[in-house]
Symmetry: C2
Subunit: 386 residues, 2 copies
């Protein structure tokens, strides 16, 4: 017993050393990365004494796949400093001798499909809404639900707003759909949805609402690694075959309205999606004009009902007429000027204009990117349920 | 409009190509990694044509930091095949010219402190309980709660068992604490808690229960990147100063019992923790003998109340006598034969033996590892609330 203090000290020292190995992630000199300077330029550093080439790829760089070289300095620390960066939530990765390498100094990692990247927020007005703040936080839950339509149990995220647990109130529901290559995780991580909603609700800019983030890949039940049995094989022929779209209406909405305190009329349901999710949104709302009072289409244009080659313009016109007659509170479209789908979005707008169907339109710089989709969520959610 | 089919085809092809770039994560030949062979040996592969050295570190290897070299083959694909591996949930990482590199073919990634590693399950009887199966799944929620004790809002995970939402029943609650270097994410990812509980409950081996996984670092409010403002600096002097321990009793338990349908008597509360969490468990239960009917101490021995040098054996004896008199359903201790705290665990057992205080003890091979802590959770949770 008399050696207890010694033992205790030894354990504390060991735990300290584990922590400091963790913090450095490998032995060697202390490395700080990323370092955000007061002028909002950023220095990225990687300890790689044995590497002969280290590059950096970041989503602020122009052009897909652009990389800049780091310079090797003392003690094997490679570094590069960016220009002054606009306030934003950025993702980046190193390449060590051509192989993708996470920044071992940065615990913030996001997954895009099967690609892992580090994340960094450059502070300022535009990135405020993406930042974790000392405001009331909603609850984010991973929820499995039965899908008789797709004949499997499936996973989704449900965000309930601050105050939900303590109140007896009923809330409106926003269904938020990801794009091809994504899954139910995407809006919660890359999309920053819980942070955006927490911040907008705290400022009184958005109404407290439930947000439901589904998995739009009809062939699978959950994100990679979260599925029972072997991973399912992507089957893009299902992308617009209507299976997911039907399951959202027939399985997801009834599950949510049964298990959460929800307002269950049209004007208390919103739906929006990006890219493939914008296609899903169009299919769902064109074929269910009575379900949603608020509709958002992000970075996706006219292609609904084309169904791999049998687009029926007359049917589409009828659907839009019915949607119009049914009374929609808001139809919102967002697209980047450089989006590869820009022309299809222009066609969709023309189609709606010709049909006398009203919508709000936001055009942003940039392309088919999460930078834009975060902006669209931040712009659209304050307009819901007003 | 007549070009719609062409446009749609172009988009589908683009989405296909994005997906396949994702799957490969970089251009080049198709790489399969990890490949589990029918005899449960595993081949790991990395495409790194420009690298001059690639190594693999896996937690099945003997010795901390052990690495084996991969061999460069055609097309710049490096590979190595393991011996036959026992069925387990393993973690591993590559090093490319000395720099840690995730396996770009494997979407399963877990974080241990600030270290990211890939995960792979080698199938078999021992790893069945860690596997995602087609059984009813509980709900895992990230929940913020007020901590007047620590003067901040803090984050935890709450697992509610399958059937919770649909029923009106009240459930017992298991408080599960992580170790130094970890945070509230640890038991949900490295610990596989939701999968273990789903599987044990589905088999009728564990009773349906709520599991609460807190953040035991009194100086911080949440996992890295999830905290408001700047990251907090680890302050290990708080490790055993009692702040977290008090907050669990004064803040967490009342919050859980107010916001969830819980059974609120002693025999429907369990607590267990690993390493630092085992120390927290001892402090909490020694000073609150009326709160928990089931107590688990994993990989942590006699050090309670030593408080940086003022261990009071007489006080400890009184506490254990009070705990004994109060009637404990189960006191459970688990430790690995090679744990660096093995001797302190032996001392704790001797102290309990001398005090006539009954406990169950499980000794496993191996050391201070998540492999053991997953085993302990799988062994302990079926014994709770019986």
């Amino acid at each position: 017993m008399k050696n207890l203090n010694l033992l205790f000290s030894a354990i504390v020292m060991l735990l300290f050393s584990i922590f400091s190995v963790n913090a450095q992630s490998q032995r060697g000199p202390r490395v700080k990365s990323p370092e955000i300077h007061t002028n909002n330029s950023v220095t990225f550093r990687l300890l790689a004494p044995e590497a002969s080439k280290v590059t950096l790829s970041g989503n602020w760089m122009a052009g897909w796949g652009t990389q800049v070289e780091l310079t090797k300095g003392d003690s094997g620390i490679w570094s590069v400093t960016t220009e002054i960066l606009p306030a934003e939530f950025y993702t980046y990765t190193f390449y060590t001798n051509g192989v993708k390498t996470l920044d071992p100094q940065n615990p913030q990692v996001v997954r895009d499909g099967t690609r892992f990247e580090n994340a960094v927020i450059v502070p300022g007005k535009e990135s405020e809404v993406y930042t974790v703040k000392d405001v009331p936080h909603g609850v984010l839950s991973k929820v499995w639900y039965p899908s008789p339509t797709l004949e499997k149990s499936r996973r989704m995220y449900v965000y309930t707003p601050p105050g939900y647990a303590e109140s007896t109130e009923k809330y409106p529901v926003f269904y938020l759909l990801h794009g091809a290559g994504g899954d139910e995780d995407a809006w919660t991580t890359l999309g920053r949805t819980p942070y955006i909603l927490d911040n907008l609700i705290a400022e009184g800019k958005a109404k407290p609402m439930i947000v439901v983030m589904t998995n739009g890949n009809a062939w699978s039940s959950a994100a990679p690694g979260e599925e029972p049995k072997a991973e399912s094989t992507p089957d893009f022929s299902q992308m617009a075959r209507g299976g997911f779209e039907k399951s959202l209406v027939n399985d997801v909405i009834p599950f949510i309205e049964k298990n959460y305190r929800t307002l269950t009329n049209k004007n208390n349901r919103a739906i929006a999606g990006l890219s493939m999710g914008g296609m899903h949104t169009q299919t769902i709302t064109n074929t269910n004009p009575d379900k949603f009072g608020y509709i958002g289409v992000m970075s996706m244009g006219l292609m609904n009902n084309s169904r791999w080659g049998n687009y029926n313009e007359e049917e589409h016109k009828k659907q839009i007429q019915t949607l119009k007659d049914s009374g929609i509170k808001l139809y919102w479209i967002g697209c980047g000027k450089e989006d590869f789908l820009y022309e299809s979005v222009t066609n969709l707008r023309k189609f709606y204009d010709d049909s006398g169907f009203k919508y709000e339109y936001l055009e942003t710089p940039g392309g088919h990117t999460w930078t834009n989709w975060r902006i669209y969520l931040s712009e659209l959610s304050p307009k819901l349920f007003r």
